[in-house]
Symmetry: C2
């Protein structure tokens, strides 16, 4: 049987657009003599529609769209993903389903059994778990249709109190009893640089265990914070990955199950390159899918805004990026020079706006109220917020979306000004630790200097008071980032982190900074997620707590 | 048997504080000759700890605390709520459990079966559902211990596609088979003004159906956005509410199951009064539990800031509230006069800060870049953001927490400036429609004018350009609020709303405004929730979508 893997980029709620794209690929597959073309999880609606799933008219529209797609399946079968109404008397309103379409009709429906409800996943909020296991027969083949998490029954629980498996049921174990010839898994699995091999391992393990070929079709493209990386695969019954589709872009591949041919795998890429590609896609899709074209940001001469603007130019083109240089009396000459050089290297429009007059106006008006107090955070924040006003003025006047340049290290310890440098429609580096921002700057300069060397080598500073350096109030970034990774991604306790060899006082201080700044992150811009644990809706901490 | 209902206010993660409070009430109950004292759901940790539940040391601390509380149960039994490790091989790490403590030991544990995962509830994220039903025997009584949602198996699903029940299991049906003498339900059920009777109806229905008395113990107090209203009850086997505890405060009551005595119910209060009391508690607990004392906000002379400041004074005391009056050249004389009068009526400190110089400094610096453009949103937002800078300067300098004054109508249609008047640590009125804000102002003036009449009767205006009125760009609030309530709380489709008799163009316009401003609410302050559907984490919409 000839099976096509259609790895596409969908827009949430764009039923007409998604259907047109799916139908176009059905036609393409048919022209290639394909028997069955497979699309990804919730391909009809885009993944994940969140509480749009609570709207009746959204669900009705999804139902209609599946029928329209079915009507285009003549002489070919297709598997698409869509929500489906639960017709039973009890349970949640919907199933997360795979529809097997052939000859204009829905031949069978397969509901998702394991509903991930952890980290960024929220599926039990909307869906009832499946309890009915069946196989679809088509052209003499018996096909086990599964949906994403359905193959992840053996994953360990997030916490470790000695338990092995997150779920009570193994869908593959149930389906294997029905003697399938191969497995299809339609998926929506987001990118995270520190889990890149986990996904493949899970799939390979299932193929080996059940001695069945697996077709795994993921979506690509970004949906606000989440970046789906594609990388769909065909794995043979020995657990060998025979075909691998592209990463971070659409792709389409036909596999003959009788004769899959030689392995065709993607070239290995470096971790930093992967994050780079993910972020470029994240920016591009945020803009394109929202109907935006142009971005703005403030270039400080520092590394974060430098890396952000390069990513923005690669995502949107230099003609669509416009920056402000916003010096104050504390800005070093070098800062302005480096920022200007970077803008020139990129060929983007830049304007210099001096914030000092506005800052002075605030301080003058506040002089009576602030009399007798020492200059400190309040005054520093006025500078950061004045910059924010200028950038938002450009955004509001000309329609450029403000990109936030905060990195994950800063974001974690609350080293940023709410309503100031935390402003923005999208936080580009909010899931990238400072040490990785440096590495990315080096990566960007591989084929010639784009980011001025000085921006990379000078000690990081917010330049909000004379001779300020980040290390005045923070540990060295190398230490800080390792402690943060242990605490956030690895979810280790303070004791466990100290046992890695870090200074106990430093560990306590860093964790205290993270815990006491949840309120800032609550109001932060959406953060492009590239790790296994990003700030945002995948990490919900109470704002009022004593812990 | 003498049973005490202990309705208390907990702090999330404050194990020592919560345990001290629980042990004090065990002692109090023992002194009153009580056999069993009942505390609310997750009383040991506070409800809801969110992803603190993923931290091993948090769970270990909860375990230890339960043991400490057990040690204080001599000659008396207690039921407390806490997370418990799932010792089985499979499933989520934890159960949400009720511990029956007596004579220094844990006599039995009862896990929650139905895990609410909708709106503001997220319990399947952390907990495995119970599958094992058992009764605890104590002093000759057979007691069915249930946890909150366990009695809500018959609730209809949020959407209506013809289904009746959200869950597959009825815990009470299982427990009834074991012949209990009465039912205990430990709960954490937040206030919402438009569901106030639903909760009692559910409990009464269960008591009647199974002909069993029900002890229902809720928590009180606010946990960031959520305000728990108490109102614990004892219902007899005929489904009559015999005892009802106080609303929005701690309470303690002993009931003799053999002789419950005459009905003692709380006085009925008006809807607006309930919302008022909820918000006062919401502010007070946000401050007290965070260790804050003082608040600030900007008084514009309008109704929203007026109602907010009265609530703040009632929650924190006039000595702890300090305001700024922030006129610009567009502010009417009346605005300043009304604001000043209100501050005087409340006896709070106020300062007048003129924003014009700062605004002029921004506009002067931007003059070249803005040349040839028409004054509009960009310029209006500079005013709102300059006010935000002044208020945050007071906050940063003196430690006053900025209260946000945005009402739900504004918040819904995006009629507010990000990083300007949307600033704040807590949004007090973000779940109160404008028409209710007016009613609350009237309610506050019941015993004499606090809010100047002029602030109530003048047409609402943002005063960002000459002669501006809210109705320039919005429908009348009476119309707007009904459309919004239909769309947000009732989740009706545009067609269904039009069928209520509203102008189709107005309905479309309002819904478009709601849908296109999700990005603003994403960065809004936490909103005190008083309705069945507040903006915030109980309503998650994708930011990038075409729908």
């Amino acid at each position: 049987m000839k099976v096509a893997l259609a790895q596409l980029n969908y827009i949430i709620g764009d039923f007409n657009g998604n259907a047109a794209k799916i139908i176009e690929n059905i036609q393409k597959a048919k022209n290639a003599g394909v028997d069955l073309v497979v699309f990804s999880e919730l391909s009809v609606t885009g993944y994940y529609p969140h509480d749009l799933l609570e709207k009746k008219e959204f669900i009705r529209k999804a139902e209609e769209t599946v029928k329209i797609i079915a009507a285009s399946c003549n002489g070919i079968a297709a598997i698409v993903g869509a929500p489906r109404i639960n017709e039973n008397e009890q349970g949640k309103t919907l199933y997360n389903s795979a529809f097997f379409l052939v000859e204009g009709k829905i031949q069978s429906v397969h509901n998702k059994t394991l509903l991930p409800t952890y980290d960024i996943f929220d599926e039990y909020r909307h869906f009832e778990p499946n309890r009915d296991f069946h196989i679809v027969e088509y052209k003499g083949e018996r096909i086990a249709v599964t949906i994403c998490e359905d193959l992840w029954d053996e994953q360990p629980t997030a916490n470790e109190f000695g338990k092995n498996k997150l779920y009570q049921v193994s869908p593959m174990q149930e389906l294997a009893k029905l003697n399938p010839g191969f497995v299809v898994n339609i998926s929506a699995s987001p990118f995270s640089y520190n889990q890149e091999n986990w996904r493949k391992d899970v799939l390979v393990k299932k193929a080996k265990k059940y001695k069945l070929p697996v077709f795994y079709v993921n979506q690509t493209g970004a949906q606000t914070e989440l970046i789906f990386d594609g990388g769909s695969v065909f794995i043979n019954e020995h657990g060998e990955i025979v075909k691998e589709l592209k990463y971070f872009e659409e792709d389409f591949l036909v596999v003959d199950t009788q004769n899959p041919g030689e392995p065709e795998l993607q070239a290995k890429t470096d971790r930093i390159e992967k994050i780079h590609d993910a972020l470029v896609l994240g920016i591009r899709d945020y803009f394109e899918k929202n109907g935006f074209r142009q971005a703005t940001l403030g270039l400080s001469g520092g590394i974060d805004s430098a890396v952000t603007v390069v990513l923005a130019v690669r995502a949107l083109g230099s003609e669509n990026v416009r920056v402000l240089l916003l010096p104050s009396k504390y800005s070093s000459d070098h800062s302005v020079k480096d920022a200007r050089q970077l803008a020139k290297n990129l060929g983007i429009r830049y304007d210099i706006v001096n914030i000092q007059d506005a800052v002075d106006a605030f301080e003058k008006e506040l002089a009576t109220l602030f009399k007798g107090t020492q200059s400190g955070i309040a005054e520093e924040n006025i500078q950061a917020r004045a910059r924010g006003i200028y950038l938002m003025a450009i955004s509001n006047k000309f329609g450029h979306i403000l990109l936030n340049t905060t990195n994950k290290s800063e974001c974690a310890v609350g080293y940023g000004t709410l309503y100031g440098d935390m402003n923005g429609g999208l936080a580009v580096l909010g899931d990238v630790y400072k040490t990785d921002v440096f590495k990315m700057a080096r990566f960007m300069n591989t084929n010639g200097e784009i980011i001025p060397e000085n921006s990379i080598v000078k000690p990081p500073s917010a330049e909000l008071h004379p001779d300020q350096k980040d290390t005045d109030s923070l540990p060295e970034y190398k230490i800080l980032d390792e402690i943060l990774f242990s605490f956030i991604e690895q979810n280790l306790s303070p004791n466990e982190i100290e046992n890695k060899g870090f200074d106990p006082e430093t560990v306590k201080k860093v964790i205290r900074m993270v815990n006491t700044t949840e309120y800032k992150r609550f109001q932060a811009a959406p953060i492009l997620r590239v790790s296994s644990k990003a700030f945002g809706f995948g990490r919900k901490m109470p704002l009022v707590a004593r812990y």
